[in-house]
Symmetry: C2
Subunit: 344 residues, 2 copies
Amino acid sequence: MPRPTIDDVATLAGVSIKTVSRVVNREPNVRESTRDKVDKAIASLGYSPNPSARNLASHHARLIVLVYDDPSAYEAPSSGYIINMQEGALKACRKSGFELLIHPCNYRNKDVGKELTELIGQVRPAGIIVAAPLSNMPKIVRAISATKTPCVRLSIGSANVKEYTVATNDRDISAEMTRYLVSLGHRRIAFIRGNKQHKAVGNRFDGYRDGLQESGIAYLEKLVVDGDNSIGSGERCAEQLLKLNPRPTAIFAANDDMAAGVLRVATRLGIEVPRELSIAGCDDISLAQQLYPALTTIRQPLSAMAETASLALIDGSRGRPSAPMLETIPGSIQVRESTAPPPQ
Amino acid sequence: MPRPTIDDVATLAGVSIKTVSRVVNREPNVRESTRDKVDKAIASLGYSPNPSARNLASHHARLIVLVYDDPSAYEAPSSGYIINMQEGALKACRKSGFELLIHPCNYRNKDVGKELTELIGQVRPAGIIVAAPLSNMPKIVRAISATKTPCVRLSIGSANVKEYTVATNDRDISAEMTRYLVSLGHRRIAFIRGNKQHKAVGNRFDGYRDGLQESGIAYLEKLVVDGDNSIGSGERCAEQLLKLNPRPTAIFAANDDMAAGVLRVATRLGIEVPRELSIAGCDDISLAQQLYPALTTIRQPLSAMAETASLALIDGSRGRPSAPMLETIPGSIQVRESTAPPPQ
DNA sequence: CGGATAAATTTAAGCGCTCAAGTAACGACT
DNA sequence: AGTCGTTACTTGAGCGCTTAAATTTATCCG
């Protein structure tokens, strides 16, 4: 029971194989009635095109490469974001009959650029998606650009490179989180900044200030401290903030790990969360749901971002009008248990 | 700068393309000197075969499909195991010039079997790897078998199906964990069983009993309670166990979530871990490292399992002798902070 | 050393598709 | 009526490789 080929379809429909090809590829210049005939033949034979033959003949693979930093290279605990990206990319690929090639790689490796160049040479993908933090490394983006392969950057926060970029609205959503805390009744809202290397952090801090301003609350410098994205730094920052008098009624951390650190300190100090202190994080890592109380946080729209990026590449490979250089996908606030109105 | 083809190599080496093909595919019947010439030509041109052309000509794709349960389909929090599997499969594939096609799917969907059958028809992979829990669903395994596509099951614990299976040694390693607890000085070691649907759970319980017996410790039924794999059930079980007098000095849970529940209860009751109570889990989910104290647990060798499975399929597709029906990859005990000698 | 056998290599065909180029049919316009 | 343009299709070549069959070259044995 060999699988039907385009010839079988053409014979059954009484047309040439090129016409079948036209129908399959949704090309114009096929009469409605002919298209119907072909579609029926395809359905009755259960035909689906052989990807290898297509690729061979068309000189490019119907394939998107998704490149991301390999978490298992250094025991990174949170890998959920990768699954989310894969999910989005897969969704777009499946819809369009493309395949997804995943390529985790270690950004600390000096030869990543060369590695990617070689990979591209091998598989000739229709496009390549580069996730953060690799997407923020000019050397890597340049290496890919040099191959002329269409490339989309996935960026959390920063977006100052010339390539097509799908980014989040970190600033806006951080402002929204701040306003949400205000809406609960909070007035003394502290902020923990993270690693200054990460562009996203700056945007989140800006959003925090925006949110305060829009709510008519004065920005107080002593309510802002610097962490380095780790749980430990979150603990240190929390200790510092909770010593203040009056102490803040809410702490908004630039990422979930630091928020987890805050929660740890609060628990240790016997401060009840959320009754006495509200805590909000950012990123919605899996830990956020597993903590007790579960963390109110900002969910990054990773899946939607990857889907958008894939679709842009797929459409681009079909010669559709290439979309804008910068596309922003909004994140969303996940309200969970760690936030509540402040004590009276 | 078009990429070099087999013809270019053949011309440069002064042989026919078939000879180049022989060299590339490591086929026999090539003189050493000829092989050298070809290898040099390949190196100097930077040649690598076009996968699509190979697939087209050879009627099968150099491609392994990895099928697993889609965690994002129902907000499953722990996705680290998928990354681990992907890592192992990728390692094997890269080594052999294969590609990896990932295929998350929802096992609760009635049509998974059909979905997989169609996928196989589409891509004609060299083999397919099915991860638990799908690998334990006869309907799914049967659907794949029907396509005659080589298939390897990845199984945590159970292994009573006829297909090639890569499994863990749950029973042995659980026994080892039990002996480890005994070696710390524990004598009253409780066990929390999990969801009875999961075959692995039974094996782990058997391992617990083996470990006790090998250590010459009597099995006490009241030290064993049934959970359902959730954190909440772990809490309930812990409450029950910690009411006993004398209470157990160690609790070994059949998975990490339940162990996390135990830890939660202990903290609530003011029982210091590990000084007053040792806790051990199983699976090494990312939560295990994030808890305080970090959980001693059993790490599943997911990466190694997926690598073994991939290699078996790749070798099989090359006509190498197909390996045994059941291959067991040992897990390993991760000693962290939640276990210590019992109080005097 | 000749003929048979095995080893090394070439030749020819074709995998299933796309792409560029070509052809037929039909109107519309001068 | 003849030209042109457009639409709707067909034709033929060829993508880069593998496979099977054909051919050449090396090796063995009496």
